[in-house]
């Protein structure tokens, strides 16, 4: 599947396109199919997202898992600071990223 991701312009937070807006949680990302570029152009122009791009992801029962480690780290947080993970209690975050 293809999902769209970027950063919030004002805060820099990592965000994912959830079909209606930009979510902080990759689990809520939806398949953008071939419409990613048009979606990003529209959202960027409206300044609802910054530096957005489309990535490949794998659909899993827990939601989309980005194909590249870089985006998995973006989704969770630095692997070396579990306390700063987006869900600090998520003990499976490490194996999900690597």
């Amino acid at each position: 599947m293809k999902i769209a991701t970027g950063n919030d312009l004002a805060t820099g937070d990592v965000v994912w396109w959830d079909g209606e807006g930009w979510s902080r949680h990759v689990e809520e990302a939806v398949d953008v199919g071939d419409h990613g570029a048009a979606l990003i152009a529209r959202e960027d122009a409206a300044r609802r997202v910054n530096a957005a791009y489309v990535i490949d992801a794998e659909a899993t029962p827990q939601g989309p898992r980005p194909a590249h480690i870089k985006d998995r780290i973006r989704a969770r947080g630095p692997t070396v600071r579990a306390d700063l993970n987006i869900a600090p209690a998520d003990t499976a975050a490490g194996s999900w990223v690597i």
């Binding site: 820099g12 630095p78 070396v80």
Partner: protein, 542 residues
């Protein structure tokens, strides 16, 4: 330490307002990201993996306790309670919000700090010897010259859109503690036979994709021509440096392609012209700046005796304390490399503590080192034991300066949008694996970069590690034989790369071979240079 006058303050204050205005125009959509990016970078603001990152300048690595406390304040108020000290002697914050950037700059400006030119294709923060003003081996304090250069380069109208970034280092001793010859321009303060002050000028060094050790361009540049000559060096680069390929745009490529002799000829010709323009400040301006760097009032009659009966304290003194030029004083390095920790990171509480200790024990002065540690430059030897106890209680007394666990590591793929592989987890594993034997291994400079841009100085490591992306997985190449010191050299890649655990094992095989072949007194680098690359390659790959 240099103190702003109303001119300096007005420029930094104006910058705060200018950047606020630029951020507002970006938020309002008057600037596109493509237009805003170079503007924010020239103010040290990046968009990284998780958020914006702000790099704050610490000019030539020197700051006082008031400034250090402000760095802690920013970590708490605008970030997640910590900061990362960098190889450019700066500090960067990983979790900044764009909308706060103006307020952060305004806070910094109250303590004479800023983020001007900490990124972008302009002249960056000048780095220097972290022991400047305290080391016994310097001809003079290089920092007044660095300050003169800071002012000249700040918003230099001609050199704001250079082909690529531009980094200058200034040292004043034969021992190079600032990797001077791996900079775009490296300056060594020196004296000629007539006793006049001047510089050796090296141009065209650097790391990155195409590492080079800078050639000597001027053997003796009289101090009176200092800025004219730099202006000529930069003008030749601005006009003729390559702009067709970002990877070939650094000045090292220009100097390499036309040759050091031709570059020198062009600079000398431009210099003859520039020298007529009256851009060098008068000697009074240097004297004004120099006065701020007058030596502190050393106490007289202090003893050099130290009670080393506490073995842990002795270990720290042996490893982290360096000779000071004044009797009874010492230079103490605070390691930001706890075993298994994140190299260069410090919490807000630790930053506050270091500020307090500097105020109490080091004439209110601290230094950030290019090895990502903090130095208290002027400590009475009589205070060292108390200082050490306070550091130890805060996890800041690791006795590992210049040992394998005192490694340089870039933020890598845990934070950086350019990285191909993570650096920090590798650093942590190496630190833990070798902590027990590092004293026996002796001086060993290990440097890790998470991509070819080489922010972790892997080319200059006795042992270097370069993280690459191999078909979507992290892979680590091993380099041996680099040095950023006065014996500067570039490391050589040993062969095929390794995974995260494999690279640690490969280093262990390397070090086992070193221990087996070293002669008495030899550092790893000495043994490597004596016995050669193949011996180690054989040890690594069998």
């Amino acid at each position: 330490m240099y103190k702003y006058d109303t001119y300096d303050q007005s420029i930094v204050d104006a910058r705060v307002e200018e950047f606020r205005d630029q951020v507002a125009r970006r938020m309002a959509g008057e600037l596109t990201e493509d237009q805003f990016k170079p503007l924010r970078l020239m103010n040290g603001l990046y968009l990284q993996l998780h958020a914006y990152m702000l790099r704050v300048a610490v000019p030539y690595g020197t700051l006082d306790s008031r400034q250090m406390h402000m760095l802690a304040h920013i970590a708490r108020k605008y970030d997640k309670g910590y900061g990362h000290f960098t190889t450019r002697q700066n500090i960067q914050y990983n979790w900044i919000e764009l909308k706060d950037a103006g307020d952060i700059l305004a806070d910094l400006a109250t303590v004479e700090m800023h983020a001007i030119q900490t990124s972008g294709n302009c002249i960056r923060n000048t780095t220097s010897d972290q022991y400047a003003g305290a080391a016994a081996d310097e001809v003079a304090d290089p920092r007044p010259w660095a300050e003169l250069l800071r002012q000249w380069s700040t918003f230099h109208p001609e050199f704001t859109y250079l082909p690529r970034k531009f980094k200058v280092a200034i040292i004043a001793s034969d021992e190079d503690r600032a990797a001077m010859r791996l900079h775009d321009i490296g300056l060594q303060l020196t004296q000629n036979e007539a006793g006049e002050t001047g510089f050796k000028v090296y141009v065209g060094g650097g790391m990155g994709r195409t590492p080079m050790v800078a050639p000597l361009i001027r053997d003796f540049l009289p101090a009176a021509d200092y800025l004219s000559y730099l202006e000529a060096c930069l003008r030749v680069y601005n006009r003729y440096g390559r702009r067709d390929n970002i990877y070939k745009a650094r000045i090292k490529i220009l100097v390499h392609e036309i040759g050091a002799d031709e570059y020198r000829r062009q600079v000398e010709e431009e210099f003859l012209h520039v020298k007529t323009l009256g851009i060098d400040p008068p000697a009074e301006e240097f004297e004004r700046i120099n006065a701020f760097f007058a030596q502190p009032a050393w106490e007289q009659g202090l003893s050099d005796e130290l009670d080393l009966s506490d073995p842990d304290f002795k270990l720290w003194v042996d490893q982290n304390v360096f000779a000071h030029k004044a009797p009874g004083y010492a230079i103490a390095t605070i390691s930001l490399k706890p075993i298994g920790g994140i190299p260069g990171d410090a919490s807000a509480d630790q930053i506050d503590l270091m500020a307090d200790l500097a105020e109490t024990y080091s004439f209110d002065e601290l230094r950030v080192t290019h090895s990502q540690n903090i130095v208290l430059p002027h400590v009475r030897k009589a205070d060292l034991y108390t200082l050490w106890q306070k550091l130890d209680a805060a996890g800041l007394a690791t006795a590992n300066l210049d040992l394998i666990s005192d490694m340089i590591a870039c933020p890598g793929l845990d934070y950086c949008s350019l990285a191909n592989a993570r650096s920090i987890p590798v650093a942590q594993k190496i630190s833990q694996r070798f902590a027990d034997r590092e004293a026996d291994l002796g001086e060993l400079k290990l440097k890790i970069s998470g991509c070819i841009n080489a922010c972790g100085h892997h080319h200059a490591g006795h042992i270097g590690i370069l993280g690459v992306d191999r078909k979507g997985t992290e892979n680590y190449q091993l380099l041996l034989g680099g040095s950023g010191a006065e014996d500067a050299s570039l490391g050589r890649i040993t062969g095929p790369g390794f995974d995260e655990d494999g690279i640690v094992d490969a280093i262990e095989r390397t070090l086992d071979r070193y221990v087996a072949t070293r002669e008495p007194g030899e550092r790893f680098l000495d043994t490597y240079r004596r016995v050669g690359f193949e011996t180690f390659k054989e040890a690594i790959y069998g």
